[in-house]
């Protein structure tokens, strides 16, 4: 049968109004606060400035190349540090947000940061406890098995893969951390005499 101009199966709105609490209270677009995307109303924002005061930077704050200058306020959590900090600063200095390299460099720095922090916190006496940080206890206290199996979940197939990836990536991180610690130790140790000169 050919399609017609009618909308199929139009519902009985009186029935819906009776059945659904609040049905249609915002049917009129005028009741919807952002139905009109842009509403110029600077007096409504709560700001009592036209040009905001500038926050003082206590460290060289990285910024997107797409900004003319640093914004009036900015976050000061986790200033760039170490090798990851050098990569992050380079990502902000050299590539705009439109460049894939900008984001790839930041993602790479994130992984380096994990390694660096692992080593640094080991020396600070706050070593990572992987099991606790994964929150693995929830598997026991929050019904890990019962929550996953026999419930028609689309993600059950990848549970072994999740475990494998988590375990292998953590081993990689720990292995790299071990190499970094050993490298650091050997840098601090007095130079060994080599057979060539002995």
């Amino acid at each position: 049968m050919a399609y017609t101009a009618n909308k199929p199966n139009a519902p009985d709105t009186r029935e819906l109004r009776a059945k659904i609490p609040g049905w249609g209270v915002d049917l009129d677009p005028g009741m919807r606060p952002a139905a009109k995307k842009e509403v110029y109303d600077p007096a409504s924002t709560g700001a009592h400035w036209e040009v905001p005061e500038q926050q003082i930077a206590t460290f060289p704050r990285e910024r997107s190349t797409e900004h003319r200058e640093i914004t009036p306020v900015f976050g000061t959590a986790c200033p760039p540090k170490g090798l990851s900090g050098i990569i992050r600063r380079a990502a902000y200095r050299h590539w705009s947000e439109g460049q894939t390299m900008h984001w790839l460099a930041l993602m790479f720095a994130d992984r380096i940061d994990v390694l660096e922090s692992l080593v640094v916190d080991l020396f600070r006496g706050k070593p990572d406890n992987f099991l606790a940080e994964w929150g693995i206890k929830a598997e026991l206290t929050r019904h890990g098995f019962k929550s996953r199996f026999g419930r028609h979940r689309a993600d059950t197939w990848r549970v072994p893969l999740d475990v494998l990836m988590l375990a292998s990536s953590s081993l990689l991180v720990l292995g790299a951390g071990y190499v970094m610690v050993n490298g650091f130790k050997s840098m601090l140790a007095p130079p060994k005499r080599r057979w060539l000169f002995g």
Partner: protein
């Protein structure tokens, strides 16, 4: 103070951190009384959002009590009970002046694609979030509401992101009386989007997910029809079948980067980080909506590219509307709805955790254990 900190993908812990300080004359320091773990926190937790630094504190949904205010703050006093939008906005730039608070141009030094946000990586400005005992609130005169006496703290915390984002998702669908609305994702935002679709006069609301307890909540809380996508061979065909082959008038994508349903997409994204997000639900939305229909996207994706079926979108003449929610703009209307009993945001809260349980909370949320929908965190600063 004690705060949740990120240690690397899938790892968080609680640490002692320095107290936040007044860094700008319009800052406030807020003692956090209630925070939430959001589905979009999982993008950070899984390492999908670039420039998520070790030591960073997540949390963009929180309420609290004002502890200290900067010299230029006029509308807040110590002791005020406040809620903050997840957006950080200046109130004076081109975008804020047009009530597009989520696009503020003065609060995110790290990127121009989004405004500042609490606890959402340096890509969103590098502001520590509210899963901590204390938090710094920039432009405090703009970024707060005093919690009314009649409003519960749990309702308030859900009005800082999930509820207004769901409402805005429905609003961007430009829903007309009798429209068929399909909501992909039965998480908190999807549930609020479904509920809001009725307020705007939808004729039929169908919520899609694969987690049976969330679909149950979609039926009871949001009065929606539901579809468990694992129970049909072809989601798109299903929606053509149930709409006389026309397609839905409006599709709302409330899933984002971690979508399940297509194994390859999930592997390429969440596991291998080759895309900004798995666009499985977004592609279902594009293909399930009718020609000239509207797809409203509020699921969070990373800034890298994703394999979206844009050819279909163009051929069908779709309107695709997207935005981070401008929370503050929606508060007056949503406050009315809560006061009148039309909306009860806290009805979706399933878990209440202490800050010390945060690692278990993230694991539970990430692995979808214990019928979790919305976990809250209570930092309880002394």
């Amino acid at each position: 103070m004690r705060a949740m900190v990120y240690r690397g993908p899938y790892r968080v812990r609680v640490e002692e951190k320095d107290m936040p300080t007044i860094e700008h004359p319009n800052d406030a320091i807020v003692r956090v009384t209630c925070a939430a773990i959001c589905g979009s926190d999982l993008h950070l937790y899984h390492g999908l959002m670039p420039d998520t630094r070790v030591g960073f504190t997540f949390g963009h949904e929180f309420t609290g009590i004002v502890e200290e205010v900067g010299s230029s703050v006029q509308s807040l006093r110590r002791g005020d009970r406040v809620m903050m939008p997840f957006n950080i906005s200046c109130g004076a730039c081109f975008f804020c002046a047009r009530q597009l608070y989520s696009s503020c141009h003065n609060t995110n030094a790290n990127a121009t694609a989004a405004g500042g946000m609490f606890g959402y990586s340096h890509t969103a400005g590098g502001y520590d979030g509210g899963q901590a005992e204390f938090v710094r609130v920039p432009f405090a005169d703009v970024n707060h509401a005093i919690i009314p006496e009649w409003m519960s703290e749990e309702d308030a915390v859900l009005l800082t992101d999930a509820c207004p984002t769901g409402y805005q998702a429905a609003e961007m669908g430009d829903i007309k009386e009798g429209d068929v609305v399909v909501v992909f994702g039965a998480g908190p935002v999807g549930l609020f989007a479904a509920k809001s679709a009725w307020l705007m006069g939808a004729g039929r609301v169908i919520v899609v997910d694969h987690l049976d307890w969330r679909l149950q909540m979609a039926r009871t809380f949001a009065h929606a029809e539901t579809l468990n996508f694992t129970q049909v061979n072809d989601v798109v065909q299903h929606f053509k079948d149930v709409t006389d082959n026309l397609g839905a008038d409006v599709c709302i994508e409330a899933v984002g980067a971690e979508a399940d349903g297509a194994g390859f997409q999930h592997l390429a994204t969440v596991k291998m980080k080759l895309q900004g997000g798995a666009p499985t639900a977004l592609n279902w939305a594009i293909d399930s909506v009718r020609k000239a229909g509207i797809v409203s996207v509020v699921g969070g994706f990373g800034p890298l590219f994703s394999a979206v079926k844009f050819g279909d979108a163009m051929n069908k003449g779709l309107t695709i509307r997207t935005a981070q929610c401008s929370v503050k703009r929606h508060w007056p209307r949503l406050f009315q709805h809560v006061k009148n009993g039309v909306l009860k945001p806290s009805a979706i809260v399933t878990h209440r955790l202490a800050l010390d349980e945060i690692a278990e909370g993230y694991h539970m949320m990430s692995s979808k254990l214990d019928n979790v929908v919305k976990p809250l965190v209570f930092p309880r600063a002394a």
